[in-house]
């Protein structure tokens, strides 16, 4: 009776992007193994440029693992092995000749718990541009810091205390500081791993507002446990389950009329 279908585990149900945005990141048959355990069983997805793509799914489904493949964060985990290909603007990011530091400047990341450096607010944001040599002068650097704080909607709250420690800010402000830090190096992609799960509703709303503004200039991929958040902030949604990408499609579509039974069960709160 229902329109929902059940696909075989390896077949991702896909609904194309009605806006036909250009593809920024292309992943094909990505597998990740931690020691003996395969955590991702071959994920293929195209991630649209200048849009927010949300990864949803229950804990342990592989969404964070996949997110961390996009800037090669899994390289830092002992015993982790990544197979398949991921390209950023058609360049294979797992190419041995590729400079990982440069990759991570192009693909920034914001984590679940705000993790400002134990430095001043100014230095937190200035750190990236300094090590990547993006500022030619002190004035240049100051401009980058101010612009980044403004773009992260934090500047007005901290402009009089830029030399105070970043750790002294509230949780929500710290998270926006981390976003300012991420965008200070002018990345093209920002990965966010549950960026609001440690924040109160008002701080969450501010970060969501910020995400919505940032997508005009950045490609954003966000992992979230809040289905409502995914529905609010993203244009595309990908549902992961047990290491498979089950379904991906326009967010409006996925949350009102998902095609796959498991997506339906998860987003309506029916997972046993």
């Amino acid at each position: 009776m229902s329109a929902v279908q059940t696909a075989t585990p390896f077949e991702t149900v896909r609904t194309p992007d009605p806006a036909s945005r250009p593809i920024k990141i292309h992943a094909a048959a990505v597998k990740v193994t931690y020691g003996q355990k395969e955590a991702l069983h071959g994920v293929s997805i195209d991630i649209a440029e200048k849009a927010v793509t949300a990864f949803i799914g229950p804990s342990g489904c592989g969404k964070s693992t996949f997110l961390r493949c996009i800037n090669r964060m899994n390289d830092t985990i002992a015993g982790a092995r990544v197979e398949g290909t991921i390209t950023l603007d058609d360049r294979n990011i797992y190419d041995p000749d590729l400079d990982v530091v440069e990759l991570r400047a192009r693909v920034g990341m914001v984590f679940q718990k705000p993790n400002p450096f134990p430095k001043s607010i100014f230095d937190n944001v200035a750190y990236g541009p300094r090590i990547h040599g993006l500022a030619r002068s002190k004035a240049d650097l100051e401009e980058i810091v101010v612009t980044s704080l403004q773009r992260a909607s934090l500047f007005n709250e901290v402009k009089d205390r830029l030399n105070e420690p970043g750790t002294g800010l509230s949780g929500g402000q710290q998270q926006r500081l981390c976003i300012a830090r991420a965008i200070a190096v002018s990345p093209e992609v920002i990965l966010m791993d549950e960026p609001c799960s440690a924040l109160d509703p008002i701080a969450t709303a501010k970060v969501e507002e910020l995400i919505d503004e940032l997508r005009a200039n950045f490609t954003i991929v966000i992992v979230t446990h809040s289905m409502q958040q995914a529905a609010r902030v993203s244009q595309r949604t990908a549902f992961f389950h047990l290491g498979h990408l089950i379904e991906e499609g326009p967010t409006d579509h996925v949350f009102t009329n998902p095609l796959e039974q498991r997506t339906q069960d998860y987003i309506t709160g029916r997972f046993g």
Partner: protein
């Protein structure tokens, strides 16, 4: 599959139960109103008018409950469609109740003057089909049967065609003898109300389709009410 939170299932089930209940009330109201018309039973007509309050209240209760569930549980996907569908359907049913009440009010207004009994037969027949449509679409809602709902939608033009022919017939009587005017106009309004009940059954069918499939019909529904054209031709 059941929700992890079982109270959520209870909420959805209770909304569906209330919609079935209001549907039953509306069916009875329409049946009674037309019976009151054929027998010119003013007592029954007045009961139909009085009972409409119950229908209105149930519609408000459904809406309140649905809003509460949306606020409390932030429904998604099929659950969201089910709740939106229930609200829409309850609205349509409430309107059906109003139309039945309007017919009943006319019975009171006609007040025993009844020149041509055979004219009523056409209205009765129209009502029979409208009631069948209403019953079928409510069953389709209860069983989430998209095909049954679509059959209701496809059959609406039968009501429209019947209404048009009734319109012409009444027009003829009115032209024959001006003394028929009052009565025929009352009957015409009753017929129009019944035709509108058919339209609401169609709306409900469309809501059922949305609830079950998540899609809306893209084609225009076939229409057979040409009474507007007849007016022009007849004048």
């Amino acid at each position: 599959m059941e929700h992890t939170v079982s109270a959520y299932d209870d909420d959805l089930k209770s909304i569906a139960r209330m919609v079935t209940e209001i549907g039953g009330l509306a069916e009875r109201a329409v049946g009674d109103a037309v019976e009151a018309l054929t027998r010119l039973d003013i007592g029954l007509a007045q009961r139909v008018i009085a009972n409409d309050k119950e229908l209105d209240k149930l519609q408000r209760d459904i809406e309140d409950k649905a809003i509460l569930v949306i606020a409390r549980r932030q429904p998604m996907a099929s659950d969201l469609r089910e709740i939106v569908g229930a609200m829409r359907i309850a609205n349509d049913i409430e309107r059906v109740g109003d139309l039945a009440k309007n017919i009943a009010k006319r019975v009171v207004a006609i007040n025993g003057v009844f020149p041509h009994k055979q004219l009523i037969t056409g209205v009765e027949h129209l009502c029979e089909i409208a009631l069948q449509q209403l019953k079928k679409v409510l069953d389709a809602y209860a069983s989430q049967d998209d095909q049954a709902a679509n059959a209701v939608r496809q059959r609406d033009n039968e009501i429209d065609a019947l209404y048009t022919s009734l319109f012409r017939e009444l027009l003829t009587y009115m032209m024959e003898d001006p003394r028929n005017l009052t009565f025929c106009i009352h009957l015409l309004f009753c017929a129009k109300n019944i035709e509108r009940i058919g339209d609401h059954a169609t709306n409900i069918a469309e809501s059922v389709h949305y609830v079950v499939t998540g899609r809306s019909y893209e084609d225009e529904r076939p229409k057979a009410d040409t009474s507007i054209a007849s007016t022009i031709a007849g004048s």
